[in-house]
Symmetry: C2
Subunit: 202 residues, 2 copies
């Protein structure tokens, strides 16, 4: 205790640059977009684990931790889905400012919503990763049984069934959702290296 | 590039415990509450800088980065102020899960709103820090000229003038807002040590 008693405070800001220099990497968002069942969450979890193993500071935002907390007041109307994506974008921005590499896993079917999120960031902070898996494959996987419910009319406006998915025109990475996860991870790591978000020490 | 090509992914979660073990400290919220001009923001910024200097991973949430982003859709009605505090609590929760020590600086005048935020966290994650400065002193400081505007009737429902401030009944730390900043910092560091959020290596 004794040595904490004479702390003298010098007014300096802690800013993103300082955090990034401490962390040894830059803050950035890996924004995964794709159909339900395309593999977004699996890939987002996998890259988070890979980056954390390499010593990076990371976080994963997905429906599980957003819809039951920050966005618990929102439903699934078009306006509410837009607001959901907007808030996720704003939280990701705060986390990037905190120096983290944030992976997000949301269908985010509309180009305009994704574009608005992109505009919150500097050019080298936001990366749109399109997990491209045919709807027929997603429907066969149907990990949460949602496609079946949509086909039975129990869920309305389900992306890929009776609500459109606007595929990214120019994603930062176009990932084949049917290739081995390790191949996708390699592509994402290469992207982060190419943009100097992370570096590998030899 | 070559050595990143054969990444094999093993399915492990990255969880708070892993992040905390990498960071060398636990995640926690330092929730500063007090009147406008009490010194919340100054203290929150100072402790953030102090902790960052000690190698901790930190972030500061305040009106500057919340009201212009995540909560830009909210006004200052009672309902909107409640929703503002709720969202700040939820973002702080995500950041604590990310392993950060988060300092928040919001007037948060109502006991019930602060209590709801506390309930989002485990007992050893949320610390309410009451920056106790008499309204007369705050009004004299008036760093943003808000008290003057409130006195002139240009701002309605201003906390401490025509809207109540409910002082914490049992804060985790009761800070004298007129003592030297270094004294307050020492008390906060002692609190974090006592609760094993941080540790000091000899």
């Amino acid at each position: 205790m004794a040595n904490t008693h004479n702390i003298v405070w010098h007014q300096h800001m802690v800013d993103r640059q300082l955090r990034e220099s401490h962390n040894g990497h830059k803050g950035a968002v890996l924004w995964f977009t794709g159909l339900s069942g395309s593999g977004k969450s699996t890939l987002a979890g996998a890259i988070e684990h890979q980056l954390a193993s390499m010593g990076s500071k990371t976080y994963l935002l997905d429906g599980d931790n957003i819809r039951h907390g920050l966005c618990r007041d929102l439903g699934f109307s078009e306006a509410d889905r837009q607001e959901n994506i907007r808030r996720v974008g704003e939280v990701a921005k705060l986390m990037v400012d905190a120096g983290l590499i944030v992976a997000t896993a949301f269908i985010s079917p509309f180009q305009s919503d994704r574009q608005k999120v992109r505009e919150l960031f500097s050019p080298n902070q936001f990366f749109e990763l399109y997990v491209d898996t045919p709807v027929s494959v997603c429907e066969q996987r149907d990990p949460k049984g949602l496609y079946q419910q949509a086909r039975e009319g129990k869920i309305k406006q389900f992306t890929g069934i009776d609500s459109p998915y606007e595929a990214p025109l120019n994603p930062d990475l176009h990932l084949d959702g049917q290739q081995p996860i390790s191949d996708s991870l390699s592509q994402i790591i290469a992207l982060l290296l190419r943009h100097h978000i992370i570096q590998i020490d030899y």
